[in-house]
């Protein structure tokens, strides 16, 4: 309102000034009119100049967003309004960009792979996890047709059928034998014909499922075998008249089978106890000498039992004189005892009579300590090595079972060692004997332990 008045005032003033200027010369009407015209002309020039400055600022605005030029009156208000509008626009853009970035960061943080597909199923965006799942490149593969890179026929068919109800299970294109990767992929429609692809890593889940299935099947099988034998003897005794000697022999065999089943159940219980209880702390220190002495006594008894006197196995243990300096281990004494003697028992059972078995307990240069059992037995082929600690896994099941093995020994060993943060390494080749090594971390051992010789 004010600026309107101001404009009119300036116009009239200019017109008045022009007329006054003209009236200085002659007091005629035409010269006054001329003066008014001159005044309005001047005003027009001034106003046009201001308008041009305003326009110039507008034109350059998208390159150099300066402040509006210093103008007065209506032009100033126009400039200010435009500039305020632009500032608001810029803020809105910034805000929505930030929102988009937040959204993308949220999708990035998702533990699932996320791929945004446009209406032609071309990749529009994908998160880092999707790149890892499918071997994509988040920049280069944008606008690529998704089926050109995810070529698994099951997925292609799923996408073509636009099946949004079920997930499709597929092996990742980047899956390898060393790093298997199984994926569950779901498609979710949104917007107009657009799709969200969500992938989930189900490798561990599938493995656990398979393991559980195997486990139940194995346990049933392992229990059924002695049970069948036992039932067979019972039936025989029920139906046949047996002599006194036969009677005793059958009962002995039945006791043997029952014993096998008991060992099996004991081992299973031990395993589930190991799984269910918290790991042993670092407070209880056991002198390793006690453990070693017990292992040695058991081992010699077992060896004498299995090989007889004609060709005894040669057992070498750390010298008794060295034992007082053997140091201490932090952990559950009974667990360690059973794990380590399991390894020694295996060596004795799988090494033929006359073979050599050497047990060592030594400190390593890096502060860890190593318990090792080396035998001169048949050794183990490389394809079996990674599977030895699986439950019920045996290289030669008939032989192992005949010698009273349950196939759970090494899985118990593995569990116990895991609970003590110790590692088991097996070094073996067919015909070359086997060496099972247990390495305890430095913080679980203390005392003066003899350092490892050159042989280790």
């Amino acid at each position: 309102m004010y600026s309107m008045l101001f404009r009119l005032t300036v116009l009239f003033l200019l017109m008045g000034a022009g007329a006054g200027f003209a009236s200085l010369f002659k007091h005629t009407i035409p010269s006054v009119a001329l003066g008014v015209a001159l005044g309005s002309g001047l005003w027009l020039v001034w106003d046009t100049w201001r308008f041009l400055r305003f326009l110039d600022w507008l034109r350059r605005l998208h390159e150099t967003p300066d402040a509006p030029p210093r103008l007065s009156g209506l032009w100033r208000e126009a400039a200010q309004r435009v500039s305020r509008l632009l500032r608001k626009q810029a803020r809105l853009t910034r805000e929505s960009e930030a929102r988009l970035e937040n959204l993308q960061a949220g999708l990035q943080a998702s533990p699932n792979g996320v791929i945004v597909l446009d209406e032609h199923t071309h990749i529009e965006w994908c998160n880092q996890m999707a790149c890892r799942h499918f071997g994509l490149d988040a920049r280069r593969d944008i606008a690529q047709s998704v089926t050109h890179l995810l070529r698994d026929p099951a997925f292609v068919a799923h996408l073509a059928a636009r099946d949004f109800e079920q997930a499709v299970i597929m092996t990742s294109p980047v899956s390898s034998e060393a790093h298997p990767l199984r994926l569950s992929v779901r498609l979710c429609p949104y917007g107009q014909g657009r799709l969200l692809l969500i992938s989930q890593d189900i490798t561990v889940f599938e493995q656990a499922e398979a393991m559980q299935r195997d486990f139940v099947a194995n346990v049933s099988h392992e229990i059924r075998t002695p049970l069948t034998v036992l039932a067979g003897f019972v039936e025989t005794m029920q139906t046949l008249a047996l002599s006194e000697d036969e009677h005793r022999e059958y009962l002995d065999r039945m006791a043997q089978q029952a014993g096998h089943m008991r060992r099996l159940v004991d081992d299973l219980l031990m395993l589930s106890r190991l799984e269910g209880s918290p790991p042993p702390g670092l407070e209880d220190w056991t002198p390793i000498a006690v453990v070693l002495a017990q292992i040695e006594a058991d081992a010699r008894a077992l060896s004498a039992l299995t090989t007889g006197a004609s060709a005894p196995q040669r057992l070498v243990f750390p010298a008794a004189a060295a034992l007082p300096q053997a140091g201490e281990i932090a952990g559950a004494a009974t667990e360690l005892q059973s794990a380590l003697s399991n390894l020694v028992n295996n060596a004795i059972r799988y090494t033929p009579p006359g073979g050599d078995i050497e047990i060592r307990w030594e400190a390593q240069p890096d502060g860890t300590a190593c318990f090792s059992v080396r035998d001169s037995g048949p050794g183990i082929a490389p394809e079996h090595l990674p599977r030895l600690t699986e439950r019920f896994y045996r290289v030669d099941s008939a032989f192992s079972r005949a010698t009273g093995g349950t196939g759970l020994g090494l899985s118990i060993v593995k569990h116990v060692l895991q609970r003590h943060e110790a590692t088991l390494t097996v070094d073996s080749a067919p015909g070359q004997g086997a060496c099972f090594m247990v390495t305890f971390p430095a913080y679980r051992v203390r005392g003066e332990i003899a350092a490892g010789g050159a042989g280790m």
């Binding site: 047709s145 089926t147 050109h148 890179l149 070529r151 698994d152 294109p173 390898s176």
Partner: protein, 233 residues
């Protein structure tokens, strides 16, 4: 119809052919994987699946050939487009041949599973080479989708590794045969398997060469690696 309209329709036909090719590639990858898994696990059902699916691979090759012939006849494409179409045709042939090799592996697996003596042979030694063959084919198809020269060149380099594996394996089989002539039959079976795996690697290499041809317009078959690298620069 305007010029622009025509060419965009051509583009969409081209895209559809590429998609068909990638679909065939996807099926082929599974075929090779299954064949090799059938070998590793001595699985007859898996081998049978490969043999049955072979028809589908062949049908896809025929479909792509038809589409190519029709697009070339109707559109008479020039220069770059023609190059792409020709390369697609060659890649299709290579994929189909790789499919044949997978089929051969599956058939051999069936005869090996039935023979107790063959199962004792060093089949595990083929694992490394077969893993490499699968990876090479996958990477070749990825490189085609992305027209990725770097990967194409690295495939040409890596194919040598499979060849080396093959040679090492052959030497090993020869020692087997010399030590015990009774293993000759089984050794030959394994040799055929190894050869099939090596050929799959060769097909991946051929595909990589056609990718370079599409992008650079130079036929790099039978050229040395250094020459190829200078072309790609």
């Amino acid at each position: 119809m305007t010029e622009k309209h025509l060419s965009s329709q051509f583009d969409s036909e081209l895209t559809s052919i590429c998609s068909k090719l990638m679909e065939m590639g996807g099926l082929l990858e599974i075929q090779i994987q299954n064949a090799i898994q059938a070998l590793a696990q001595f699985s007859i059902p898996l081998a049978d699946e490969v043999i049955q699916t072979e028809d589908r691979v062949d049908m896809m090759e025929v479909a792509i050939d038809h589409a190519l012939t029709s697009i070339i006849a109707r559109r008479q494409p020039a220069a770059r487009d023609l190059r792409l179409l020709l390369a697609i045709s060659k890649i299709t042939t290579n994929l189909e041949r790789a499919g044949d090799e997978a089929n051969k592996i599956a058939r051999r697996v069936k005869s090996i599973v039935e023979s107790a003596s063959a199962r004792k042979m060093p089949i595990g030694d083929l694992r490394l080479a077969s893993g490499m063959a699968i990876t090479l084919i996958r990477r070749a198809l990825d490189a085609f989708a992305r027209l990725d020269l770097d990967t194409a060149v690295s495939i040409l380099k890596e194919d040598d590794l499979i060849d080396q594996e093959f040679k090492g394996f052959t030497r090993k089989l020869i020692t087997y045969m010399m030590e015990d002539p009774r293993t000759i039959g089984d050794s030959l079976n394994l040799l055929f398997l190894a050869k099939a795996i090596e050929r799959i690697g060769d097909h991946a290499k051929n595909i990589a060469e056609f990718i370079i041809y599409i992008v650079k317009g130079t036929d790099v078959r039978h050229s040395s690696l250094t020459h190829i690298e200078s072309v790609v620069q």
